[in-house]
C-alpha cells in the first residue's frame, strides 16, 4: 500500500510519520533506538540563532495520560547544530525539518537565513507557539499580525518549504494560520502543547521550575484533532497534525480530520520504537477501514467531504 506523502515545494515523505520537534533531539540521540531511515521525517528540537539556557528544573511532570514540560527551548544555537548534528543527519535518509525559534522577528530571520544555506535541511517549521517562553514566541503565536511578519521574514530568506506551527492556546488558531498562509507559509503544523500546570503538594508550589508548562500526550488528542479539523476545513494548504498520537488508529483519526501527515512526540519517551510500530501497522489499519492509501483517507471526515 502507498504510504508516501507529497507536500508543497517538492517535500517528499516516505510515509506520514514524522518525529515531533523537541521529543527527538537533533537526531543522533535516538539513533541507537530507532532506524531513522524508516521515518517519514524528523523535526529537530527548536533552534535559535544564539544558545538558549532554558528553564530551571524540574522540567517535566506526569499527568493523567499527559506530560507537562517546561524545557524552555534550551538549545545550543544554530552554529553548534550545523557543526555537530548536520554531519549525522547527512548519514540518514529521511526528511529533516528545522524547527526554528526566536525572541524577535529578526532572530527568526537570522536563523532561517543561515540554515537555508544548509542543503540537508528539507523544510522549516516556524515555532511561533511554544508556551514556555515569556518573550517573543508566545505573543507571536497569539497575534495574526506578528505571525504574518515572522512568516514573511522567513519566506523572504528561503525557498525551502515552510510550515508554521500554531498554538492551541488562542481562541481561534485558524486566524493565526490564515495570516501565516497569506505571508507565504506552505503548510500549517498543529498543535503545540496546551499551557498547563501541576502542584507539588510537598513543596506547596507549582511542580515545574518554569511554573507553567506545555501539556502533551494522549490527554490532548481530542483538542488537537478538533483544531486540525478546523484548520483543514478552512485552509487551502496541507496541515501536519499532532497531539497525543500513539497508534496507527490515532494516525487515521488525524488523516480523516484533514491532516496530510502527522508528527509523533511524547509517546516516544515511553516507547522509543513506537513510531516504527505505527508505520508497520498503518497499512493494515488503513485497509481495515477501507482505504487504499494514505492520501485516500485525508480529510474524509471534513464537512465539505461529508456533504459530498
Amino acid at each position: 500500500m502507498r504510504l508516501d506523502v507529497t507536500l508543497p515545494r517538492g517535500l517528499q515523505l516516505k510515509n506520514p510519520i514524522m518525529a515531533a520537534s523537541g521529543t527527538f533531539g537533533f537526531g543522533p540521540e535516538y539513533a541507537a533506538y530507532v532506524d531513522i531511515n524508516q521515518l517519514g521525517g524528523v523535526s529537530v528540537k527548536g533552534i535559535s540563532p544564539d544558545p538558549w539556557r532554558g528553564n530551571p528544573p524540574p522540567r517535566v511532570w506526569e499527568t493523567a495520560e499527559g506530560l507537562l514540560n517546561s524545557i524552555g527551548l534550551q538549545n545550543p544555537g544554530m552554529e553548534v547544530f550545523l557543526a555537530e548534528d548536520i554531519p549525522f543527519l547527512n548519514t540518514v535518509d529521511t526528511a529533516v525539518v528545522a524547527n526554528i525559534i526566536g525572541h524577535t522577528t529578526d532572530e527568526y530571520r537570522r536563523v532561517a537565513e543561515r540554515l537555508s544555506k544548509e542543503p540537508r535541511i528539507d523544510a522549516f517549521e516556524i515555532n511561533i507557539s511554544c508556551p514556555n517562553i515569556k518573550e517573543g514566541g508566545i505573543q507571536f503565536g497569539h497575534d495574526p499580525d506578528q505571525a504574518f511578519r515572522v512568516t514573511r521574514a522567513v519566506r523572504e530568506v528561503t525557498e525551502k518549504p515552510i510550515m508554521v506551527k500554531v498554538s492551541p492556546n488562542t481562541g481561534e488558531p485558524w486566524v493565526i494560520a490564515e495570516a501565516a498562509v497569506q505571508a507565504g507559509a506552505d503548510m500549517i503544523s498543529a498543535i503545540n502543547t496546551l499551557v498547563g500546570m501541576a502542584m507539588d503538594l510537598n513543596a506547596r508550589r507549582p511542580a515545574l521550575g518554569g511554573v507553567t508548562g506545555g501539556l502533551s500526550g494522549p490527554a490532548i488528542k481530542p483538542v488537537a484533532l478538533r483544531i486540525v479539523y478546523e484548520l483543514a476545513s478552512r485552509l487551502s494548504v496541507p496541515v501536519i497534525g499532532m497531539g497525543g498520537i500513539s497508534s496507527a488508529e490515532d494516525v487515521l483519526e488525524f488523516l480523516m480530520a484533514g491532516a496530510s501527515a502527522v508528527m509523533v512526540g511524547t509517546v516516544t519517551f515511553q516507547h522509543p520504537e513506537r513510531m516504527l510500530t505505527i508505520i508497520d501497522d498503518l497499512p493494515r489499519v488503513l485497509e481495515t477501514y477501507g482505504f487504499s492509501s494514505v492520501e485516500s483517507a485525508v480529510g474524509v471526515a471534513l464537512p465539505q467531504r461529508r456533504e459530498a
Partner: protein
Amino acid sequence: MAHAFEVPIIERRDVAPAHVELMLKSVRLSQAQPGQFCHVLTPGMLRRPISFSRLDPKRGLAGLLLQVVGSGTAWLYERKAGQNLDVMGPLGRGFSPPEAHRPWILVGGGVGIPPIFAALEAWQNRVTAPIHVVLGARTADYLIMRRDFQSLGTNPVLTTDDGSLGQRGNVLPALDQWLGQFPGAEVMACGPTPMLAAVQKTARGRAGRVQLALEQRMGCGIGACLACVVPAEPLGPEGPRYRRVCTDGPVFLGEELVFDAP
C-alpha cells in the same frame, strides 16, 4: 541496535518498609557500570529511572532496589518473581573506577545507598588503600543493604536521624574525620540533594576526586529532551548552565555542580 527490552524478575526481596529489591536476569544490564541506571516502563506516561543496586556480570544478574514514593514505584513494588520488566539501559555515565592507591570514602544516604554498594562490590579489590563507608538514613529500618556491606567484609559507619541505630545525626561527621585523616582520599556519594551539597562543600578543593550521583525528573532518559538538567558550572551572568543527568550524569564531579543555583 539498542532498544527497550523485557527482562525477567528472578527474585523479589522485601528489604525495608516499602522498599523492595528486584533481581533481574539480564547479561546486558549486568554489564552496567555502578552509578548507571535503567529506565523502567510503568503504567504512567514516563519511564522511571532506577540505578543498579548490584551487578553480577558472571551470572548475568542486576539488582534494582527501590523505595515506594508514588504511582510508579508502587506498581514496581507489586511485581513478582517470574514477571518481566520493560527496560531501557544501562543508561548514563556511572562512577569512574577509584584509583588503586588512594584511600576511598563511600557515602550513601537512604535510597542512594544501592549504587554505593554496587561501586564497592565492583571495585573494592582493586583498591589497596583504606576504604571507609558511611551510611545514613531516617531510622534503623531504612538503613538498607547494611548487611550486604558487612558481607563484603567492610564495616560501614551507620548513622540515623533519630539515633535508632549507629550514631545519631548524619553522614558528615564521619566524612569530615576521614578527610582529615586522608586528605587525598577519593569520595563517591549518592543520596538526597542536601546531603550531596554538603559532601561537595566539605570535600571540595583537594587532590582526590569527588564523584556525586544525582537524581532529576526525566523524560527520554537518553539525552534527547533536556528534561533532566541540573545547574552546572560555568556559572555565567545569566546563571548556571544546565547539564543532563541522564547522559552527562547521573555521576558528576563535585566541582562541576552548582547546588545553590537561583
